[in-house]
Structure formats: structure tokens, C-alpha cells
Symmetry: C2
Subunit: 325 residues, 2 copies
């Protein structure tokens, strides 16, 4: 039995150390890890993936902690991936979360892992997708993808989730216009956390109003995102929220029919695009950095010998084999 | 005189229609616009670029509106670029802002433009950088880059600014750990807007505490980001804020010495990397979409004929000319 075969077997039988090491290798952009993912793929497609997003401070980790307790109480297993696209600077993600999550850390049914951009150019979406596949192949019933922020990268990450959950707190709904474009279309379920605070009702009504303005989207029996007031700290509303997750899951299953949840064309397309983008940047930027060509170009622009637009052309074009370029 | 020459001349003499059309072309990813940017580059490097970021609802547009009034009162001109990386879904950015900004819209000294991802793969950082160069070449004294969110893409956009401003509101500083990694290192100035609200003092103290924990970073006379309480709606604190912007500018000038503000190695490097990434995605993803190869690959994964990791290899590798790949 080859080494790869042995790793695959360990992952699919749930060996935690092997899983942790493989996810680490994926996070580090190691090539062998990518080959292992190809062989693991046939074992994936069973886990249900829940994406949780929202601005820093809305209480995502507390919520995820509560979700973990409920899911375990129902006898199901889960993996938690905490991904922080908003810390590109230090790479030191989720220190506080790790501390908070400790009460689950002794439970073999919960696998917790923080992902951070480790400086390689591929970005988080590719490595996160890989980590999801590993946890899926490992046999987890649920995978919770916790991601900070509501920007493009958070949106890209969310595309890997079956149910996309947006967490808000009272007072954040002030600027309806600013929120409208980005958030509404992304969410399958909206949570208003810290809903004991002043303004919870207003935030709820603002959200509802926005949905009402978009009637046709929710017409003819399509999923209309519920808005649920919760208090993650005390656990109030979390069970109701998880009932809605199951309801959404059933709705998705019906829509996808015999293809199942994984082989959804929209999800595959979004994921493949992210993978292609990540891989492309990793290979090309990696090559330009290693060869010294990138640094030479920066120096030339700083000296005023060239403009950045021409420098960019000169770096990229020799590396591409595209007809008519 | 060639057509390009004529456009360059119109831009540098401040012709608003030419500028608007050129920025539109850049936003649309039109190739001629890229060539024009190369020729415009020698005319850039004079404008001072201020980046404003913060979560939706913190009052960025109101603040920018106030800044515009102050800058105009001092006899200086400005361009405003409102960039919204958090609306990848609809592309309909900043409707509310456009309305709010109308009181400046008749003033020739203020050029306002919203940028949105128009679906092409290059992303916002490349097009935004191009738009900044156009406004710079046009002769604007200040360029304000207003961007929503605190995610990776917002951080990338901010790299084009000389002074990076983070706007917060009371109550958002609850989760210090979550904020710490991403926000602290990005900001040159912190504003606490809506500071008449409960919790302003706590947010200020939380921020101060975080900086104190990071003493060495601010040692030996390096810039220590001030934290200023403002009320953008009434204008309170905005003048004090702009004084700090000038103080930061002087600090940067001293650091960069004879190279001036533009030819800062760190900024050039960050920008060139963004440009290379954007261009790469545009060319390769554009080609894969146009040729139909991407759709074929998605179908193959959906049918179960291949896994996405192998599909990704098969799409990319034939297009790259990298030794040892």
C-alpha cells in the first residue's frame, strides 16, 4: 500500500492527526496535498456545509460554539473551519476563538481548525475548499465555515456552503443602501444577534422591508430567507435557527433532485473558478517572486525607468500561452 | 496629433467628460484604456491619496462629504472614488451615496465616481488604481478612496492610499481579538464616528489598549495612529481629523526623502502585485470563459467524470509557460 493510499485510508477512517497534518499542508500550499485531494474527492459529498459570516464583533464564534453543542447533543459530528480573510496583515487569526472553543476541544466529535492566509498567493478560497473536502471525507456530518467580514473574499468563501448565514447586530442596519447590494442576495438565513439590545426590532424591520422590495425573487415558492432574533451568549433562538437550517437543507435537496447536494452546477462553477484563480496566482506570482523578476520590476518603477502598467505587461505576457494575446 | 495624444492632453487639462469616459473604459477592462494609462503615468504622482474604510453603516459617505467641503474651502480640488468590494452580487453600488453627494456635484473642483466590479475577472484593485492615476494626472490635489468593509479586498485597495483611515462606531469594538489582527496594522488614523452614542469612550479605550500592547511598533518616533472621536453628521471633529491627515503626510514625506510620496517601494510593490494578479485573472479566466473550456470542465465535474482538482489542472497548465511546472 503506497503512502498516499495509507493517508487516504487514515483520513476516511477519521484519524485526527492525519487530518490535521493534511489540512496544514493544504494551508501551506504543498503540492502533494493537492494530489491527495484528487484521490479524496470520491469520498466527499456527504457533509452538510453551513457558512456563517458577519462583521467582526457580531458574535459569530459564540454562535458557532452554541451550534456545536446542539449538533453534538443530536448525536451528529462536526468540523469547524474558522477562516479570517480580514487578517491579511499579521496572519494571527482567531486567538480569542481558540480559547473560547476549548470546551469542545476534548470532544472527538468536533474538529476545530483556524485557517489564515499564510502569505502564499493562492488565497484562502482554494485552501478552505480543500479543508472542507478533507473534513467531508473524514465523515463529519456538518461542517461549519466561520468567516469574518462581508467583502468579496468572504462572499467567495460562502459559495462553498449549502446554507449561508449572515449575522447582524442591532444598529448595523442603519445604512440600508450600503448593505442592500452586498448582503441580501448572499444570505439564506439572517440572524440578529445581541437582540436584547436597543434597535433589534428596527434592524429586523429594515431587513424585512428590503426583502419585500424584492418580491419577485421570492415568488413562486422559492426560499425566502427567514430573519431570526437570537442571543448567542445565552443560547436563545439557536435551536429555532437550526430548525431553519434543516428546512433550508430540505428545500435544496428538493431543488437539486437526483444530483444530490454536492453536484449543484452553480456551486461547482463558483468553486472551480476560485480554484483556477487561486492556482493561477500561486503558480505565476510564485514564479515571479522566486525568479527575482518581480523585485527587479518594482525597482525599475521606483527608479522611474518604467511605468507599472508596462512593467505588469512585461512580467505576465511571457508566461502565458494564450492565442491572440 | 494622434487620438491617444489628444486624450492625454484633455485629461491633463482637466476635461471632465474625457476623464469620466476613460475611467468608465478602465472599469470595463477595455484594452486601449490600459495603453493610455502607460502614457498618463508620467503626469501622476502629485495627488495626495486618502483611503477611508469601515463596515457598512459607520457613516463613511457622510464623512467624505464633510471632508470634501473642508478641502474645497481651503481652495484645493479633489476626486472621490467610492469603491464597494462588498457588492459582488448586484453591481449596483452606492446609490444612496450618489444622492447624498449631490450638493458637490455642481462643483467643478470635485469629481465623484462610484466603481463596482462589472463582472470582469480583474477585480477592483486594478481598475481602482487606474482611476486614481487618471484623477492624479487630471491635477486633483486630493483623491479620497472610500471603500466598504475591512476584508482582504478592502485592505488591498487601501494600499494605494498615502493615509489609511479606519472608521468605527461605538459598540463595534466588543470583539477586540477579532478586530486586532486585521484592523490595527492597516490604519494610520482611527475615527470613532457617531461618538455621541453610548460606548464611544469604551471603543476608544479598547483601541488605545491594543496599541499600548504593541509598543515596539510605535517606538522611536514612528507614526502612532491617533484616535479621533467625530460626528460626521454635524461635522464635529472633521477639521481636527484633517489636521492629523496633514501631520501624517509630513511624516511620510520625511520618511521617503527625495523619492517623494509616489515612489515608495512598499506602495509600488503592493500595487504591482495587485496589477499582475488582476491582469492574470482577466486574461486567463477571460480566455477559459470565451473558449467554452471552463463550462465543459464544470459539466464534467457535475457529471462525476472528474474531480475539481484535476479539472483545475487541466484548465490551467496548458496556458502557462513556466519552467519546471
Amino acid at each position: 500500500m503506497g503512502k498516499a493510499r495509507s493517508i487516504i485510508q487514515k483520513v476516511t477512517s477519521g484519524d485526527i492527526r492525519t487530518v490535521a497534518r493534511l489540512i496544514g499542508d493544504i494551508d501551506d500550499g504543498i503540492e502533494e496535498a493537492r494530489d491527495l485531494l484528487k484521490e479524496l474527492y470520491p469520498y466527499t459529498g456527504r457533509a452538510y456545509i453551513i457558512g456563517i459570516t458577519g462583521a467582526p464583533g457580531v458574535g459569530k464564534s459564540t454562535l458557532v460554539d452554541q451550534m456545536a453543542s446542539h449538533i453534538r447533543k443530536n448525536g451528529k459530528t462536526l468540523g469547524i473551519l474558522a477562516v479570517d480573510p480580514s487578517s491579511p496583515f499579521s496572519g494571527g487569526a482567531f486567538l480569542g476563538d481558540r480559547v473560547r472553543m476549548q470546551r469542545h476541544s476534548m470532544d472527538q466529535g468536533v474538529f476545530i481548525r483556524s485557517m489564515a492566509t499564510r502569505g502564499h498567493s493562492g488565497g484562502l478560497t482554494g485552501t478552505t475548499r480543500g479543508a472542507i473536502d478533507v473534513l467531508d471525507a473524514m465523515g463529519k456530518d456538518y461542517i461549519i465555515l466561520e468567516t469574518a467580514g462581508v467583502g468579496q473574499e468572504a462572499a467567495d468563501l460562502l459559495k462553498s456552503a449549502h446554507t449561508k448565514v449572515i449575522v447582524l447586530i442591532p444598529g448595523m442596519g442603519d445604512d440600508i443602501q450600503a448593505m442592500k447590494a452586498g448582503i441580501l442576495e448572499a444570505g439564506d438565513i439572517f440572524l440578529i444577534n445581541k437582540s436584547d439590545r436597543e434597535g433589534a426590532e428596527k434592524t429586523l424591520n429594515d431587513l424585512r422591508l428590503m426583502m419585500d422590495m424584492d418580491q419577485k425573487k421570492y415568488a413562486d415558492g422559492r426560499w425566502r430567507p427567514p430573519i431570526i432574533k437570537i442571543e448567542a451568549l445565552s443560547g436563545r433562538g439557536v435551536e429555532e435557527f437550526l430548525v431553519e437550517v434543516e428546512r433550508h437543507r430540505n428545500c435544496l435537496m428538493k431543488d437539486n433532485g437526483s444530483l444530490g447536494l454536492r453536484r449543484n452546477k452553480e456551486m461547482v462553477s463558483a468553486e472551480l473558478k476560485d480554484m483556477v484563480s487561486a492556482r493561477l496566482l500561486e503558480e505565476v506570482i510564485g514564479h515571479l517572486a522566486a525568479s527575482g523578476d518581480f523585485n527587479d520590476a518594482v525597482d525599475a518603477v521606483v527608479r522611474g525607468d518604467t511605468d507599472p502598467y508596462s512593467a505588469c505587461d512585461n512580467l505576465i505576457l511571457p508566461l502565458l500561452k494564450i492565442p491572440d494575446l
